[in-house]
Protein backbone atom coordinates (compact mmCIF):
# COMPACT_ATOMS: atom_id res chain seq x y z
CA UNK A 1 0.00 0.00 0.00
CA UNK A 2 1.45 3.42 -0.90
CA UNK A 3 1.86 5.97 1.89
CA UNK A 4 -0.90 8.11 0.39
CA UNK A 5 -3.40 5.24 0.77
CA UNK A 6 -2.31 4.66 4.36
CA UNK A 7 -2.98 8.34 5.10
CA UNK A 8 -6.38 8.14 3.40
CA UNK A 9 -7.14 5.07 5.54
CA UNK A 10 -6.25 7.10 8.63
CA UNK A 11 -8.66 9.84 7.65
CA UNK A 12 -11.38 7.20 7.40
CA UNK A 13 -10.63 5.36 10.64
CA UNK A 14 -9.48 8.03 13.08
CA UNK A 15 -12.64 9.58 14.56
CA UNK A 16 -13.50 13.05 13.28
CA UNK A 17 -10.09 13.39 11.67
CA UNK A 18 -9.78 16.30 9.27
CA UNK A 19 -6.14 16.29 8.25
CA UNK A 20 -3.20 13.88 8.52
CA UNK A 21 0.40 14.92 7.99
CA UNK A 22 3.49 12.78 7.69
CA UNK A 23 6.40 14.87 8.86
CA UNK A 24 10.18 14.70 8.62
CA UNK A 25 11.25 16.35 11.85
CA UNK A 26 14.90 16.71 10.80
CA UNK A 27 14.09 18.97 7.88
CA UNK A 28 10.87 20.35 9.40
CA UNK A 29 8.87 19.41 6.30
CA UNK A 30 5.55 17.69 5.71
CA UNK A 31 6.47 14.83 3.36
CA UNK A 32 2.92 13.68 2.66
CA UNK A 33 -0.54 14.71 3.77
CA UNK A 34 -4.20 14.11 3.23
CA UNK A 35 -6.98 16.47 4.20
CA UNK A 36 -10.74 16.85 3.90
CA UNK A 37 -10.23 20.46 2.94
CA UNK A 38 -7.64 22.59 1.26
CA UNK A 39 -4.98 23.98 3.59
CA UNK A 40 -2.37 26.60 2.73
CA UNK A 41 1.33 25.72 2.73
CA UNK A 42 1.87 27.84 5.86
CA UNK A 43 -0.46 25.52 7.73
CA UNK A 44 1.73 22.53 6.88
CA UNK A 45 4.88 24.43 7.77
CA UNK A 46 3.46 25.25 11.19
CA UNK A 47 2.38 21.66 11.84
CA UNK A 48 5.86 20.42 10.94
CA UNK A 49 7.55 22.97 13.15
CA UNK A 50 5.25 22.19 16.07
CA UNK A 51 5.81 18.45 15.69
CA UNK A 52 9.56 18.98 15.82
CA UNK A 53 9.29 21.19 18.88
CA UNK A 54 6.93 18.98 20.82
CA UNK A 55 8.52 15.64 19.96
CA UNK A 56 12.19 16.35 19.44
CA UNK A 57 12.90 19.18 21.81
CA UNK A 58 15.27 17.48 24.24
CA UNK A 59 14.59 19.84 27.10
CA UNK A 60 10.82 19.41 26.98
CA UNK A 61 11.08 15.62 26.78
CA UNK A 62 13.76 15.57 29.51
CA UNK A 63 11.65 17.69 31.77
CA UNK A 64 8.65 15.48 31.24
CA UNK A 65 10.81 12.37 31.80
CA UNK A 66 12.19 13.68 35.09
CA UNK A 67 8.73 14.23 36.43
CA UNK A 68 6.84 11.13 35.40
CA UNK A 69 9.39 8.44 36.43
CA UNK A 70 8.15 6.02 33.83
CA UNK A 71 11.83 5.20 33.11
CA UNK A 72 11.13 4.65 29.50
CA UNK A 73 13.92 4.43 26.98
CA UNK A 74 11.79 3.51 24.01
CA UNK A 75 9.33 6.34 23.51
CA UNK A 76 7.78 4.79 20.44
CA UNK A 77 4.15 4.52 21.39
CA UNK A 78 3.90 7.85 23.12
CA UNK A 79 1.16 10.14 21.96
CA UNK A 80 1.27 13.86 22.44
CA UNK A 81 -2.21 15.33 22.54
CA UNK A 82 -2.85 19.01 22.10
CA UNK A 83 -6.36 19.85 23.28
CA UNK A 84 -7.08 23.32 21.95
CA UNK A 85 -10.24 25.39 21.87
CA UNK A 86 -11.09 24.35 18.32
CA UNK A 87 -9.13 21.20 17.58
CA UNK A 88 -7.45 18.20 19.11
CA UNK A 89 -4.10 17.31 17.53
CA UNK A 90 -2.40 13.99 18.13
CA UNK A 91 1.31 13.68 17.41
CA UNK A 92 3.02 10.30 17.32
CA UNK A 93 6.44 9.14 16.12
CA UNK A 94 6.47 6.99 12.99
CA UNK A 95 7.29 3.38 13.72
CA UNK A 96 9.79 2.84 10.92
CA UNK A 97 11.69 6.11 11.16
CA UNK A 98 11.99 7.68 14.61
CA UNK A 99 12.81 11.08 13.11
CA UNK A 100 9.48 11.07 11.31
CA UNK A 101 6.20 11.98 12.97
CA UNK A 102 2.52 11.71 12.11
CA UNK A 103 0.04 14.40 13.10
CA UNK A 104 -3.72 13.83 13.19
CA UNK A 105 -5.87 16.92 13.37
CA UNK A 106 -9.34 16.09 14.70
CA UNK A 107 -12.48 17.84 15.92
CA UNK A 108 -12.43 18.86 19.58
CA UNK A 109 -15.23 16.42 20.43
CA UNK A 110 -13.33 13.26 19.44
CA UNK A 111 -13.06 10.90 22.40
CA UNK A 112 -9.49 10.55 23.71
CA UNK A 113 -9.28 6.78 24.20
CA UNK A 114 -10.94 5.96 20.87
CA UNK A 115 -8.64 8.48 19.23
CA UNK A 116 -5.58 6.93 20.80
CA UNK A 117 -6.60 3.40 19.69
CA UNK A 118 -7.34 4.49 16.14
CA UNK A 119 -4.06 6.41 15.91
CA UNK A 120 -2.09 3.36 17.11
CA UNK A 121 -3.70 1.27 14.35
CA UNK A 122 -3.10 3.78 11.60
CA UNK A 123 0.51 4.15 12.75
CA UNK A 124 0.90 0.41 12.02
CA UNK A 125 -0.75 0.81 8.62
CA UNK A 126 1.66 3.61 7.78
CA UNK A 127 4.65 1.56 8.97
CA UNK A 128 3.56 -1.28 6.68
CA UNK A 129 3.17 1.11 3.79
CA UNK A 130 6.74 2.34 3.99
Amino acid sequence: MPLKDALIAGLETVPQCETICYIDMDSGLVLASHSRQHRPQEFYDKIASLATRLMQSPSLADRFDKLDDNNKIDDDDRNIFVFGQNRTHVFVKAKTFPNHAICYMCARSAETQTLSDAVAKNRETIANAL
Binding site: P15, L67, D77, R78, M105, S109, A110, Q113
Partner: protein, 273 residues
Protein backbone atom coordinates in the same frame (compact mmCIF):
# COMPACT_ATOMS: atom_id res chain seq x y z
CA UNK B 1 -54.91 -10.06 7.69
CA UNK B 2 -55.16 -7.87 10.74
CA UNK B 3 -51.89 -6.87 12.28
CA UNK B 4 -51.44 -6.78 16.00
CA UNK B 5 -51.32 -3.22 17.32
CA UNK B 6 -47.99 -3.95 19.00
CA UNK B 7 -46.45 -4.92 15.67
CA UNK B 8 -47.72 -1.75 14.02
CA UNK B 9 -46.08 0.30 16.77
CA UNK B 10 -42.86 -1.61 16.23
CA UNK B 11 -42.97 -1.11 12.48
CA UNK B 12 -43.50 2.62 12.80
CA UNK B 13 -40.40 2.71 14.97
CA UNK B 14 -38.43 0.87 12.29
CA UNK B 15 -39.54 3.35 9.67
CA UNK B 16 -38.22 6.22 11.76
CA UNK B 17 -34.87 4.45 12.10
CA UNK B 18 -34.75 3.94 8.35
CA UNK B 19 -35.33 7.64 7.75
CA UNK B 20 -32.40 8.40 10.02
CA UNK B 21 -30.27 6.06 7.97
CA UNK B 22 -30.80 8.12 4.85
CA UNK B 23 -29.96 11.49 6.37
CA UNK B 24 -27.30 10.00 8.60
CA UNK B 25 -28.75 11.79 11.59
CA UNK B 26 -31.85 11.36 13.64
CA UNK B 27 -33.48 13.32 16.37
CA UNK B 28 -33.20 12.25 19.99
CA UNK B 29 -36.69 11.26 21.13
CA UNK B 30 -38.47 13.45 23.63
CA UNK B 31 -38.77 17.17 24.12
CA UNK B 32 -37.93 17.55 27.80
CA UNK B 33 -34.35 16.97 28.97
CA UNK B 34 -35.60 14.13 31.16
CA UNK B 35 -37.20 12.32 28.21
CA UNK B 36 -34.10 12.78 26.12
CA UNK B 37 -31.93 11.45 28.92
CA UNK B 38 -34.17 8.37 29.09
CA UNK B 39 -33.87 7.95 25.32
CA UNK B 40 -30.08 8.24 25.35
CA UNK B 41 -29.66 5.79 28.22
CA UNK B 42 -32.03 3.36 26.49
CA UNK B 43 -30.05 3.71 23.27
CA UNK B 44 -26.91 2.67 25.13
CA UNK B 45 -28.65 -0.37 26.58
CA UNK B 46 -30.03 -1.34 23.16
CA UNK B 47 -26.68 -1.13 21.38
CA UNK B 48 -25.07 -4.54 21.02
CA UNK B 49 -22.59 -4.16 18.17
CA UNK B 50 -19.89 -1.47 18.50
CA UNK B 51 -21.22 1.91 17.49
CA UNK B 52 -20.03 5.44 17.71
CA UNK B 53 -22.75 8.00 18.42
CA UNK B 54 -22.00 11.60 17.59
CA UNK B 55 -24.34 14.16 19.13
CA UNK B 56 -25.13 17.36 17.28
CA UNK B 57 -27.00 20.44 18.43
CA UNK B 58 -29.47 22.57 16.50
CA UNK B 59 -28.26 23.13 12.93
CA UNK B 60 -24.68 22.89 14.12
CA UNK B 61 -22.02 21.19 12.11
CA UNK B 62 -19.53 20.90 14.95
CA UNK B 63 -20.45 17.88 17.06
CA UNK B 64 -21.19 18.28 20.75
CA UNK B 65 -19.84 14.94 21.90
CA UNK B 66 -19.11 11.40 20.80
CA UNK B 67 -19.99 8.23 22.70
CA UNK B 68 -18.47 4.80 22.02
CA UNK B 69 -20.97 2.07 22.84
CA UNK B 70 -20.89 -1.73 22.56
CA UNK B 71 -22.53 -4.68 24.30
CA UNK B 72 -24.99 -2.38 26.04
CA UNK B 73 -22.15 -0.50 27.70
CA UNK B 74 -20.82 2.96 27.23
CA UNK B 75 -17.08 2.54 26.73
CA UNK B 76 -16.06 6.10 26.11
CA UNK B 77 -17.46 9.59 26.01
CA UNK B 78 -15.80 12.77 24.89
CA UNK B 79 -15.96 15.78 27.20
CA UNK B 80 -18.82 18.15 26.68
CA UNK B 81 -18.92 21.62 28.12
CA UNK B 82 -22.23 23.13 29.14
CA UNK B 83 -24.35 23.71 32.17
CA UNK B 84 -24.87 20.58 34.17
CA UNK B 85 -26.61 19.57 37.38
CA UNK B 86 -24.32 19.53 40.38
CA UNK B 87 -23.23 16.21 41.79
CA UNK B 88 -20.74 15.40 44.53
CA UNK B 89 -17.44 14.11 43.19
CA UNK B 90 -16.49 10.69 44.51
CA UNK B 91 -12.84 9.82 44.88
CA UNK B 92 -11.04 10.27 41.58
CA UNK B 93 -10.18 7.37 39.33
CA UNK B 94 -12.58 4.89 40.88
CA UNK B 95 -15.35 3.18 38.96
CA UNK B 96 -17.83 5.40 40.76
CA UNK B 97 -15.97 8.48 39.61
CA UNK B 98 -16.00 7.36 36.00
CA UNK B 99 -19.68 6.54 36.25
CA UNK B 100 -20.31 10.00 37.69
CA UNK B 101 -18.45 11.68 34.85
CA UNK B 102 -20.22 9.59 32.21
CA UNK B 103 -23.68 10.14 33.71
CA UNK B 104 -23.08 13.84 34.14
CA UNK B 105 -21.98 14.23 30.53
CA UNK B 106 -25.09 12.42 29.28
CA UNK B 107 -27.26 14.65 31.45
CA UNK B 108 -25.54 17.70 30.00
CA UNK B 109 -26.27 16.49 26.50
CA UNK B 110 -29.91 15.88 27.36
CA UNK B 111 -30.16 19.41 28.71
CA UNK B 112 -28.79 20.96 25.54
CA UNK B 113 -30.98 23.90 24.55
CA UNK B 114 -32.46 23.21 21.13
CA UNK B 115 -32.82 20.19 18.93
CA UNK B 116 -30.48 17.29 19.59
CA UNK B 117 -29.58 14.80 16.88
CA UNK B 118 -27.50 11.65 16.81
CA UNK B 119 -25.36 10.37 13.98
CA UNK B 120 -24.57 6.68 14.17
CA UNK B 121 -21.42 5.18 12.73
CA UNK B 122 -20.27 1.60 12.71
CA UNK B 123 -16.90 0.96 14.29
CA UNK B 124 -14.66 -2.09 14.15
CA UNK B 125 -15.59 -5.14 16.22
CA UNK B 126 -12.28 -5.19 18.00
CA UNK B 127 -12.47 -2.06 20.05
CA UNK B 128 -9.92 -2.43 22.80
CA UNK B 129 -11.73 -1.66 26.04
CA UNK B 130 -9.49 -1.57 29.06
CA UNK B 131 -12.37 -0.40 31.15
CA UNK B 132 -15.63 -2.30 31.18
CA UNK B 133 -17.51 0.94 30.77
CA UNK B 134 -20.93 1.72 32.18
CA UNK B 135 -24.01 -0.41 31.68
CA UNK B 136 -27.46 0.97 31.06
CA UNK B 137 -28.60 -0.12 34.52
CA UNK B 138 -25.61 1.50 36.22
CA UNK B 139 -26.27 4.78 34.43
CA UNK B 140 -29.99 4.54 35.07
CA UNK B 141 -29.38 3.81 38.75
CA UNK B 142 -27.00 6.71 39.15
CA UNK B 143 -29.28 9.18 37.38
CA UNK B 144 -32.45 7.99 39.11
CA UNK B 145 -30.78 8.24 42.52
CA UNK B 146 -30.24 11.92 41.89
CA UNK B 147 -33.68 12.48 40.42
CA UNK B 148 -32.21 13.62 37.12
CA UNK B 149 -34.98 11.91 35.24
CA UNK B 150 -37.55 14.05 37.01
CA UNK B 151 -36.19 17.36 38.19
CA UNK B 152 -34.96 20.39 36.38
CA UNK B 153 -31.25 20.82 36.93
CA UNK B 154 -30.08 23.48 39.35
CA UNK B 155 -28.11 26.48 38.20
CA UNK B 156 -25.25 25.95 40.58
CA UNK B 157 -23.05 24.17 38.02
CA UNK B 158 -20.23 22.29 39.65
CA UNK B 159 -20.98 23.43 43.17
CA UNK B 160 -18.48 20.91 44.42
CA UNK B 161 -15.64 22.50 42.47
CA UNK B 162 -14.12 25.64 43.86
CA UNK B 163 -11.29 27.81 42.61
CA UNK B 164 -9.40 27.69 39.35
CA UNK B 165 -8.10 24.75 37.39
CA UNK B 166 -5.01 24.35 39.58
CA UNK B 167 -7.03 24.07 42.78
CA UNK B 168 -9.55 21.66 41.33
CA UNK B 169 -6.97 19.48 39.60
CA UNK B 170 -5.24 18.70 42.93
CA UNK B 171 -7.38 15.66 43.60
CA UNK B 172 -6.59 14.20 40.16
CA UNK B 173 -2.84 14.80 40.04
CA UNK B 174 0.14 13.54 41.99
CA UNK B 175 2.01 16.82 41.52
CA UNK B 176 1.53 20.22 39.91
CA UNK B 177 3.67 23.29 39.29
CA UNK B 178 2.10 26.56 38.25
CA UNK B 179 4.30 29.16 36.62
CA UNK B 180 3.45 32.63 35.39
CA UNK B 181 4.36 33.97 31.96
CA UNK B 182 7.66 35.26 33.32
CA UNK B 183 8.66 31.78 34.42
CA UNK B 184 8.21 32.34 38.16
CA UNK B 185 6.68 29.53 40.20
CA UNK B 186 3.43 30.86 41.62
CA UNK B 187 2.04 27.69 43.17
CA UNK B 188 2.84 23.98 43.55
CA UNK B 189 1.15 20.93 44.99
CA UNK B 190 1.78 17.21 45.52
CA UNK B 191 5.01 15.21 45.53
CA UNK B 192 8.08 17.39 45.57
CA UNK B 193 10.14 15.18 43.24
CA UNK B 194 7.56 15.64 40.52
CA UNK B 195 7.52 19.42 40.64
CA UNK B 196 9.69 21.84 38.72
CA UNK B 197 12.50 23.69 40.45
CA UNK B 198 13.17 27.36 39.73
CA UNK B 199 15.76 26.72 37.02
CA UNK B 200 13.58 24.16 35.24
CA UNK B 201 10.59 26.49 35.40
CA UNK B 202 12.55 29.30 33.76
CA UNK B 203 13.85 26.98 31.05
CA UNK B 204 10.44 25.51 30.34
CA UNK B 205 8.91 28.95 30.14
CA UNK B 206 11.50 30.03 27.61
CA UNK B 207 10.73 27.01 25.53
CA UNK B 208 6.98 27.55 25.64
CA UNK B 209 7.48 31.13 24.44
CA UNK B 210 9.10 29.70 21.30
CA UNK B 211 6.05 27.79 20.11
CA UNK B 212 3.10 29.25 21.96
CA UNK B 213 1.96 31.32 18.99
CA UNK B 214 2.12 28.30 16.66
CA UNK B 215 -0.10 26.30 19.00
CA UNK B 216 -2.44 29.23 19.34
CA UNK B 217 -2.87 29.42 15.61
CA UNK B 218 -3.31 25.70 15.04
CA UNK B 219 -5.30 24.56 18.04
CA UNK B 220 -6.61 27.72 19.67
CA UNK B 221 -5.71 29.04 23.12
CA UNK B 222 -6.01 28.14 25.94
CA UNK B 223 -4.90 24.59 25.36
CA UNK B 224 -3.59 21.52 27.12
CA UNK B 225 -0.68 19.39 25.95
CA UNK B 226 -0.63 15.86 27.27
CA UNK B 227 1.90 13.09 26.77
CA UNK B 228 0.78 9.54 27.32
CA UNK B 229 1.63 5.98 26.31
CA UNK B 230 -0.24 2.74 26.65
CA UNK B 231 2.63 1.17 28.54
CA UNK B 232 3.12 3.96 31.06
CA UNK B 233 1.34 4.63 34.32
CA UNK B 234 2.05 8.33 34.51
CA UNK B 235 0.84 11.06 32.22
CA UNK B 236 2.41 14.51 32.06
CA UNK B 237 0.30 17.44 31.03
CA UNK B 238 0.94 21.10 30.42
CA UNK B 239 -1.98 23.50 30.51
CA UNK B 240 -1.38 26.84 28.82
CA UNK B 241 -3.37 30.03 29.25
CA UNK B 242 -2.46 33.64 28.58
CA UNK B 243 -1.72 34.17 32.31
CA UNK B 244 -0.02 31.03 33.49
CA UNK B 245 1.12 27.50 32.74
CA UNK B 246 0.39 24.45 34.87
CA UNK B 247 2.62 21.40 34.53
CA UNK B 248 1.01 18.36 36.14
CA UNK B 249 1.72 14.67 36.61
CA UNK B 250 -1.20 12.29 37.01
CA UNK B 251 -2.11 8.64 36.90
CA UNK B 252 -3.18 7.43 33.46
CA UNK B 253 -6.62 6.48 34.80
CA UNK B 254 -7.23 10.11 35.79
CA UNK B 255 -6.12 11.63 32.51
CA UNK B 256 -9.57 11.76 30.80
CA UNK B 257 -11.04 13.45 33.86
CA UNK B 258 -8.22 15.96 33.95
CA UNK B 259 -8.89 16.87 30.30
CA UNK B 260 -12.61 17.19 31.03
CA UNK B 261 -11.93 19.39 34.06
CA UNK B 262 -9.65 21.56 31.96
CA UNK B 263 -12.37 21.96 29.34
CA UNK B 264 -14.92 22.91 31.97
CA UNK B 265 -12.71 25.41 33.75
CA UNK B 266 -11.88 27.17 30.47
CA UNK B 267 -15.55 27.39 29.59
CA UNK B 268 -16.24 29.02 32.94
CA UNK B 269 -13.37 31.45 32.55
CA UNK B 270 -14.65 32.62 29.21
CA UNK B 271 -18.21 33.01 30.49
CA UNK B 272 -16.87 35.12 33.35
CA UNK B 273 -17.71 32.83 36.28
Amino acid sequence: MALDAAIIALLSGIEALGAGGVSGRRKVDGTSPQDRLQAIVKLIGDTVLPRSYTFFGDEETEPLATATVASGRMLGLSPFDAETPAIPEPEAGTRDARLAVAARTLAKLAHFKGKLTIETSVIGEDIAAEDVGQTESELRGFLAERDWFRDEPGDEGHADEHGGFFERAKRLTSAQTQIDVNGRITDASGEETRRLDTAAATALNKEIADWKSDIEELAGMPCMIMRQARSEDNVVSLALTSDDHVLAVCDRANAPELVALWGRSQKEESSGQ
